[in-house]
């Protein structure tokens, strides 16, 4: 019964193993590059890298910190997620469980098109159309929620973190919708029938069978979207009117994000300036890793309840 392994198996094994190792090597190389260049800059830095509200790596003494960038990146991405995740899940549910088949297909196609729009186009549209149009919403938010401080608006141009968040929401909506749609489509018929046979309405079927089954898929999709929002560069750089301070009122212009800051400063930066920007890029890299790790933890913690072992 002994036989030589077939060449096809060996080649496939080699390819698969090679690809797996390749990914790890690339990740390690990126991390090593970022860490090496970043450490040079941080060695020159006279100020606290994490808490300083300033970006002046060429000054004497050199002082720069990522506080403003971290705040801007996280806040704009959170706004984007808060808007995009519920809307995306809603669209995906509508396509898979409510819309007539043809209408659902059309909507899915249009969403696919949205995913293909380059971010520079979103940026142009954002600065030329969205920013001027935000005034009405801003006024309303200022009137009704201005007392919170978060939505306090001084009537300047809407080139703020909030507008960036709205634009990012539109940009990540297609990817979240597409992934959740695929997950919802894979809900086993028998889970839905289980709910139906108990006398569940359509919404109750969604709540009892579809959403629990799709839960880890929704989280994964959101993380994909969040990854894009955290790293989005051009659209943010075009819409945001940057400044190096933290403004808790999200409607006022100012602030910055990691990617936007790197893009707008990199070309004119001195070598030390570039290393400083790379140090900020390293922080973005770490944030992305942490976000993904957290998502995996959430999924793993409820694994025994997941639809996968049905």
């Amino acid at each position: 019964m002994r036989g030589a392994t077939r060449p096809g198996d060996r080649i496939f094994l080699g390819l698969a193993r090679g690809s797996g190792i390749f990914v790890l090597v690339v990740m390690a190389a990126i991390a090593a590059f970022l860490t090496y260049r970043a450490s040079k800059a941080i060695g020159e830095n006279e100020a606290n890298f994490f808490t300083t509200f300033e970006w002046n790596p060429t000054g004497v003494p050199a002082e720069f910190g990522i506080a403003v960038l971290a705040f801007g990146t996280v806040v704009s991405s959170v706004i984007a997620m808060v808007i995009a995740v519920p809307v995306s899940v809603g669209i995906a549910l509508f396509i898979t469980h409510y819309a007539p088949r043809r209408l659902g297909g059309t909507i899915a196609y249009v969403i696919d098109l949205l995913a293909a729009v380059p971010s520079i186009v979103y940026g142009l549209w954002g600065v030329l159309v969205l920013v001027p149009q935000m005034d009405g919403l801003y006024g309303w938010l200022d009137d009704h929620l201005g007392w919170t401080g978060v939505f306090d608006w001084d009537e300047g141009p809407a080139r703020s973190l909030f507008t960036v968040g709205v634009l990012l929401a539109l940009m990540i909506l297609p990817i979240i919708t597409n992934v959740t749609r695929e997950v919802f489509r894979q809900v086993p018929r028998m889970h839905e029938e289980a709910a139906l046979a108990l006398g569940a309405t359509r919404w109750e079927v969604v709540r009892m069978s579809v959403l629990p089954f799709g839960r880890s898929g929704i989280i994964s999709a959101s993380m994909l979207g969040l990854g894009r929002a955290l790293g989005e560069t051009m659209a943010v750089a075009m819409v945001l009117s940057p400044s190096f301070d933290i403004n808790l009122s999200l409607l006022n212009a100012g602030g910055g994000t990691f990617a936007q800051n790197i893009a707008s400063k990199f070309n004119e930066a001195t070598p030390i300036g570039r290393d400083a920007l790379i140090a900020s890029g390293l922080v973005l890299f770490v944030i992305t890793l942490l976000v993904n790790g957290a998502a995996r933890l959430i999924i793993a913690r409820r694994k025994e309840y997941s639809g996968a072992n049905a």
Partner: protein, 258 residues
Amino acid sequence: MAKRIDVSGLNAYYGSFLAIEDISMTVEPRSVTAFIGPSGCGKSTFLRTLNRMHEVTPGGRVDGKVMLDDENLYGAGIDPVAVRREVGMVFQRPNPFPTMSVYDNVAAGLRLNGKYKKSELDDIVEKSLRGANLWNEVKDRLNKPGSGLSGGQQQRLCIARAIAVEPNVLLMDEPCSALDPISTLAIEDLIGELKERFTIVIVTHNMQQAARVSDRTAFFNLAAVGRPGKLIEIDDTERIFSNPSVQATEDYISGRFG
């Protein structure tokens, strides 16, 4: 409250395809009626018309009358969701909600129907699990996922879930076909107990099972593939298996079929 089912002139379609034609029968309360017949003869389709699950399939529609005591399930203004709360169903493959615990699975139907106090819910869950002969096996793991049970236990969990809402009728679509013989026996014993309280209709491919569990047996057949399935005859189980009045039934149960 077990109720009588009275079907008359029922046709069911998938799109323009007539799947079952002109079916009329009566199912007595607190009895077990078995549907037998070759694959594709429409017995499962017919079963699914009895709780309006057929129309959930895209293109599925029904005409005819299904009376549950004195109410027509297909009457004007009848809500299919309400029908399914009266007529419970157990499927071929055990389908507990995978994300829910054993307890929550049993309570799922109750929570749809309204608000219960925790203590009431506890009582009904225990009673239903006892009713499904599952209580002793799961009482220490009520908060563990239902999908962690064995196949036979999962199916009894599904039965507990179905009877927790006290339906008038319990439909079973080949409930044992995915189970081993011991689990099958457990379910068959259970059916014998449940018929004290419910009207039970069971579809089965296993003729010994039909002979063991049912009081009445209905034989379905179709003239050819692509033709609608029809009810050939329904009679006391003993008579169907000893001296059926139609030759096709005798051929089928004695294995001289097809």
